[in-house]
Symmetry: C2
Subunit: 545 residues, 2 copies
């Protein structure tokens, strides 16, 4: 009976894969690498009218209507619904100033301020809200102004270019003006990226500029996925941001901070959480499903970081995390050495790859696993840790052969995935990036893919990135350039100030959240043309075809 | 030509009736008498359901549903629309605390908090808003909560008993609780009024208690008209509050502060503004129409203050203001010495008397003018200033005779007003308060009034007060008691915690502003039963019929 009194809570029995001292050290290094935020005071550059236009992105466009000073000097009571345009995407805190006009305030005022990254956000009603994510992500704030003059700062940080101001309550007995609107914009991007070659086409230069702004706006005290929504660190976004950063702002300390944050906040079993939060204290989304492909990309990220910086200390420090991620490779491998995606999903793993409900993820995951193993092995070699991952060469061989034997259709000259033998851009791209086939075969596959009518296309920029990478890796340089020009250039031509989280040229209102205004329109994973344009200048900065 | 260069702005030519030194001195005294606000921390006492009930006030009543601790411990996502009841009327600042529940926050939350003085305010939709006053007076505040745990204080001061909390945005991926709601209630009423005689009936004791709360809630750094809406100093409300204060809290310094504020902020021509604001610095509602009856009551207020305090210094100091108000008596007097209400209104004067569009105000104003002159004359006598208002005795006589000759219908035994010879409670009450007729005649008139089917009844508590005063002045004590018991007792029986700005037993949704939820339900001018009950204990505290 006495024994019962000494029974310890189960938490103590289930050991932490990393010990607490290690986690604390990692989190300390993450904290020490927190960048300073640079603040810039921004003012609107004009008032615009948002008008319906079937040819404009999402059916709305902003056209210049009057100067800001004209708006400011007139009674605002007659100007409810005015949209002010800051002329660029901003991330920061907004302050509004309101004054009485030739009269005495006798009652409070009520305003709705709606902040939009794109014109449609300040044009379409948010209610009734049909989205699957919290309605509170939408950036409309209602304020009561009890006393004038008033200078009010909206408590939440906002991400926007346009601000619509609706008067929801005013008194017939006095008049007022809105005198000032100010945004204190923040970013941790301070370095100036290199200039592009003068031979760069105007379109590529524009794409590059929009990509730089996108990345800059997402660079806060971590690489955020989107400054409007989710505003946090996701491994998948980080992987692409770090690549883009290496070829632009070169602020590797921010990458380092993110690598350490993710490590310090890993699951108890040593596998990584797909996303973490910084505030009120660093914490992971405990309880969220394990996102396999993101965990695998952490290793590539670490290897890329080492290559970009030579910072071996960090790589060695975080090696146990990379090594641990490899322990999941065999968890759902079937007897043919093919990833059993169905079983993994059934058991609660999240297989992302792309926002696309129709996508069969088996083949893509097979590719991501092989790619990650190869990169991890290369990392191990650099660190003299090869022996610690001695299982990898054999696994790489077996899984690569299995991919060719089981997932490749010789008739179609395409990889197929899952029980329906689905053909997709995801499968081809990832198995090519993983170098399961040689360059020549990869070209054949990608050409077959382009000719395939039923292939599942990328659902958004995240997978488009890997498709472009696969094209480049296969030597299909002109095709790569064409996709960047058409897809990201398409956003630029539709007026993008920053690249969007979701973009389907054939359905501008596509939303994985069932309500397109809640999409993020400045999204990290879409910034990667700056990586392509700057890493492969011979392809993208050459002003030839 | 040179002369033109020296033309001075017109402001310098139009002299201030009071010089600047005098105004500054008055405002300094007002400032020096600013009371400290006493803060009390209040918590809700229970959760209630607001249910439709045709027999309840305005069709809604609150019934107890569960304890506050039950609300606090459960997920609030499933409790949207919960109403917490603080068990009493409060005026102050509200803080809400929100926490995550067994999960990690992945998105912001959006809440609407609706504060109601009465149940209907948290039951009926505010939009579409049809009211004539600013929609912003309605106490619904929308907040976005970016990060948990959160403790958020609503910026505006609120006046309420009930708080409805609606969840407007939440994430399917985490849960949360509302853990605490706190109101820091404020008032400047610190004294404890005398206990009532033990013989006082339960109803009168209840009426007195509700009246005391009403006055206490309106006692802030001035005597506010209503802590929810308009939240400022109006002469008419102040006149009644000062009377009630004299017989309850006896905080005469607050009356003194208000008298000086009104004086210091008077119109340039020396006549008074009907209302003033304290913040951001003391100022009048410049541009608002001159409210004649309120200006006249300032003098009665000053005389009452002197009587209650013996503070001759203040009375002498402010005598020039009282004296100046008398200069308007003859402005719109016709050749028969009757007030030409139509002409005054046409020229922009505001004649209030009561919220009632149908009311002809001529006879009532004649009464208020005579009453004010008599009280001013009495004040002058106390201050040895009789010579300065030597016109008053003659005017009082002439206007009293005129009232009897022109406004009195011998057939009806009633005063009549205006071209339609309208009979109203306002006319009889004010001409009786002015002692235009002797007690015996006044009784006859009031009995005729009660018998008159077409007499215009009081539109609200402000005029009911004067009707009760007229009944008492005429010796119709039981009638006075009956009105207090029926009218104010009616509010008590309908669940009033504080007395309402507007109350028509036959139309509970009456609103001078075309939207009854914007009415104030804790309104200074309705608190006066405490004055009657405590000034005339032989009538109201005697437990006889």
């Amino acid at each position: 009976m006495l024994l019962l009194l000494f029974v310890l809570p189960s938490a103590i029995y289930s050991q932490d894969f990393y010990d607490n001292t290690q986690r604390e050290k990692w989190l300390k290094i993450a904290k020490d690498n927190t960048p300073a935020l640079v603040e810039t005071i921004k003012k609107p550059v004009g008032a615009v009218k948002i008008i319906a236009d079937a040819n404009a992105f999402q059916g709305y466009k902003a056209i210049s209507s009057q100067s800001v000073s004209e708006v400011y000097k007139k009674s605002f009571k007659q100007q409810s619904g005015t949209v002010l345009d800051f002329g660029q995407h901003l991330t920061g805190h907004v302050t509004i100033t309101i004054n009485t006009l030739n009269s005495v305030q006798d009652a409070p005022l009520r305003f709705k301020l709606t902040f939009g990254e794109v014109p449609a956000e300040v044009a379409v009603p948010f209610d009734p809200y049909t989205g699957g994510l919290s309605r509170a992500w939408l950036q409309d704030e209602i304020i009561t102004v009890m006393e004038l003059p008033a200078t009010i700062t909206i408590p939440r940080r906002l991400a926007f270019r346009y601000v619509k101001i609706d008067v929801l309550g005013s008194s017939p007995y006095f008049d007022f003006t809105i005198n000032d609107l100010t945004c204190v914009g923040t970013t941790s991007a301070v370095n100036t990226p290199d200039a592009l070659a003068s031979s760069t086409s105007a379109l590529m230069a524009q794409i590059d500029a929009v990509g730089l702004t996108t990345l800059k706006e997402c660079m806060q005290t971590v690489f955020e996925d989107g400054p409007k929504r989710d505003r946090r660190l996701w491994i998948g976004d980080l992987y692409l941001q770090a690549q883009a950063n290496t070829y632009s702002y070169k602020q590797h300390d921010l990458t380092k901070r993110c690598l350490y944050l993710l490590a310090g906040l890993a699951q108890k079993d040593g596998f990584l959480y797909c996303n973490v939060f910084e505030s009120p204290q660093p914490h992971a989304q405990i309880g969220s499903p394990f996102l396999f492909d993101y965990a695998l990309l952490y290793n590539v990220l670490l290897k890329d970081y080492l290559e970009a910086t030579g910072d071996k200390q960090t790589a060695i420090d975080l090696w146990p995390v990379a090594k641990r991620q490899m322990d999941n490779i065999t968890t759902y491998l079937n007897s043919n050495n093919i990833f059993d995606a169905e079983k993994a999903a059934k058991n609660g793993w999240w297989l992302f790859v792309d926002w696309n409900d129709k996508l069969d993820r088996q083949a893509a995951l097979q590719g991501i696993m092989i790619f990650s193993m190869k990169q991890t092995l290369a990392l191990a070699k650099r660190l003299n840790k090869e022996k610690e991952v001695s299982q990898l060469p054999g696994l790489i061989d077996k899984m690569s052969s299995a991919a060719l034997n089981t997932l490749y259709s010789k008739d179609q000259k395409l990889f197929v995935s899952g029980p329906t033998k689905q053909v997709s851009y995801a499968s081809q791209s990832w198995l090519i990036i993983a170098c399961v086939v040689k360059k020549k075969e990869a070209q054949t596959i990608l050409k077959s893919l382009q000719a395939s009518k039923n292939a599942i296309k990328p659902g958004g920029p995240y997978l488009y990135h890997y498709y472009v990478q696969a094209l480049i890796d296969s030597g299909l340089k002109e095709d790569a350039k064409k996709i960047v020009a058409e897809y990201w250039g398409g956003m630029v031509n539709k007026g993008a100030d920053t690249f969007w989280e979701v973009y389907d040229p054939s359905n501008e209102q596509l939303s994985p959240y069932n309500f397109y205004p809640v999409n993020s329109y400045c999204h990290a994973w879409s910034c990667t043309p700056i990586y392509f344009i700057r890493k492969y200048p011979e392809i993208f900065q050459a002003n030839s075809k």
